[in-house]
């Protein structure tokens, strides 16, 4: 696999929002395909008191924010699902993308 191919795959992962952009060029790639409409506006995240209280509480907590997810999928159950349980929003997004692709042909 060439360096160019690896860059292609990274760009594709950026476009679909699977990874977090780390350079200005990557932010531009991400923003081309991920718009404000993709995620509902969360007014609480613009409330300074809420953000500081919640953020500082989480920062000092010994509990990881990922803990609930891992305890929900303890043991081998994570590997056993084999992609059968796709979240509805991703399913819808895939369907929209497919429809768009068909219309573009």
């Amino acid at each position: 696999m060439t360096d160019k191919d690896k860059g292609e795959l990274r760009a594709a992962l950026l476009e679909i929002g699977a990874i977090i952009p780390q350079t200005d060029a990557e932010v531009a790639i991400y923003e081309e395909t991920n718009t404000k409409a993709d995620v509902e506006t969360d007014e609480e995240l613009m409330d300074l008191d809420y953000v500081l209280n919640r953020g500082q509480h989480l920062d000092t907590s010994t509990k990881s924010i990922f803990e609930a997810q891992h305890s929900q999928h303890t043991g081998f159950s994570m590997a056993a699902r084999e992609g059968k349980d796709i979240p509805e929003d991703i399913r819808n997004r895939m369907k929209d993308a497919r429809d768009k692709a068909k219309n573009d042909i």
Partner: protein, 214 residues
């Protein structure tokens, strides 16, 4: 340090907003922080939400990731922003990634064996060598890529994305370090060779799906 009301701050450039947050008086700090949230909290929320969805974390985890990141900026990091190194969005993306790494470390420290694989070759033998030259991802069709990722188990998908996230950065910016790769490996309870093996196997499945449906 002259701005005193919200309207003054709305007109300020990002680097000045960061300066006010870091070094302003208490009123300036507060108003500048509010302007900062107005400009960037939703962007960060979008990043975190899509990141979580590809890893099956619930949306409230994304909110917590955002609160952690924003609080760190406002209370600790605002004075470190350097416009010459990139935009605020780029800088926030880097802080968000560090937040994710820190939270995985907490998880690992608390329950070091919490994540397992049932199909790993954890034998003493070296894992089979995967020939990366066989995997051609030129002109990746994004629709097919999303479909292909959806055929993987959630653990395969996470490993593939996280591993290739670092791998791609290696080529783009030379940032990949053994330390970073080790964090990803430990996050999944894997050895480094097995991380690479798992990621490459998942990549081959993705490639096959794309080839079969093109």
């Amino acid at each position: 340090m002259e701005a005193t009301n919200r309207r003054d701050f709305e007109d300020e450039a990002d680097d000045m907003i960061m300066l006010y947050i870091a070094e302003g008086d208490s009123k300036q700090k507060e108003v500048a922080a509010q302007v900062f949230l107005g400009r960037y909290s939703q962007y960060l929320h979008r990043l975190a939400t899509s990141w979580c969805r590809y890893r099956y974390h619930p949306d409230n985890t994304a909110r917590d990731m955002v609160c952690l990141t924003l609080a760190k900026v406002i209370t600790e990091k605002a004075g470190m922003y350097d416009e010459s190194k990139g935009s605020v969005k780029t800088w926030l993306g880097r802080i968000l990634k560090n937040v994710i790494a820190d939270e995985y470390r907490k998880l690992r420290d608390k329950s070091p064996t919490i994540v397992h694989f049932d199909d790993l070759d954890e034998s003493t033998e070296a894992p089979p060598v995967i020939d990366e030259e066989e995997v051609d991802v030129k002109n990746v069709n994004r629709v097919l890529l999303e479909e292909a990722l959806s055929t993987l188990s959630e653990i395969e998908r996470s490993v593939l994305i996280d591993y290739w996230d670092l791998k791609g950065m290696d080529n783009l910016e030379g940032r990949l370090s053994a330390g970073e790769t080790r964090v990803i490996a430990e996050q999944y309870g894997l050895t480094l060779p097995n991380l690479r093996q798992k990621a490459n196997r998942a990549l081959k499945k993705v490639k096959k799906h794309i080839e079969d449906h093109q």
